[in-house]
Symmetry: C2
Subunit: 120 residues, 2 copies
């Protein structure tokens, strides 16, 4: 015996979509965006890669200016943004500031991504 | 019998630092920075989080404008930047464009981070 299953009718006047959740609140979104904005500049990416590739994972500001071809004040400004975003640590040794990739840099970025991409 | 080991003398006139590696080349750094620049904006972070939180992981452009309080052309522009960075996919369904988090979005970002932070 054949049982006829009722057809589920799709209403033709239905709106195209179901409204989604509101997503992150603006303040939290701004904090997350700040972390990524620090990474969203070619010079800062180069500076990070130079520090990451340094023999002891530590680079003096005096060694960062020449590879990127910028003045020390400009490089200092870039390093300040990276430090504020929690991506590098800064240590003053005598005359020179030394920078290292922050031990939790990757964790900071991963946590920001979790919030942006995996919120359910 | 005691063997005296020679002392290694540290020259006092040594420069403060050993020069580091040159880091990423400018072109590659620019590509990586573009990915992060797409994430470096509060509105785009909110748009991503709304899409990620949508019931089917899929959001119509018509549902993205109201939560962020922006016009559809402005939201479309933000979505274009996210799509170009490989962070979302776009599918046209009739009148409306629908967006989903790209399956390899996390992989794209992780690969960029590997290059920026772990180069040795």
């Amino acid at each position: 015996m054949t049982t006829l299953l009722p057809l589920i009718e799709t209403p033709t006047d239905a709106p195209c979509c179901t409204p989604g959740a509101g997503g992150l609140d603006p303040e939290r979104a701004a904090t997350i965006a700040r972390t990524f904005k620090a990474l969203g500049d070619p010079t800062r990416i180069r500076l990070l890669s130079i520090i990451a590739a340094a023999p002891d994972g530590d680079a003096c500001i005096c060694d960062l200016t020449e590879p990127v071809g910028l003045s020390q004040p400009t490089v200092s400004h870039h390093m300040k943004l990276l430090a504020e975003a929690g991506l590098v640590t800064r240590e003053q040794r005598g005359k020179w500031a030394h920078f290292a990739i922050a031990p939790d840099a990757r964790g900071t970025i991963d946590a920001a991504l979790d919030l942006a991409l995996d919120l359910r």
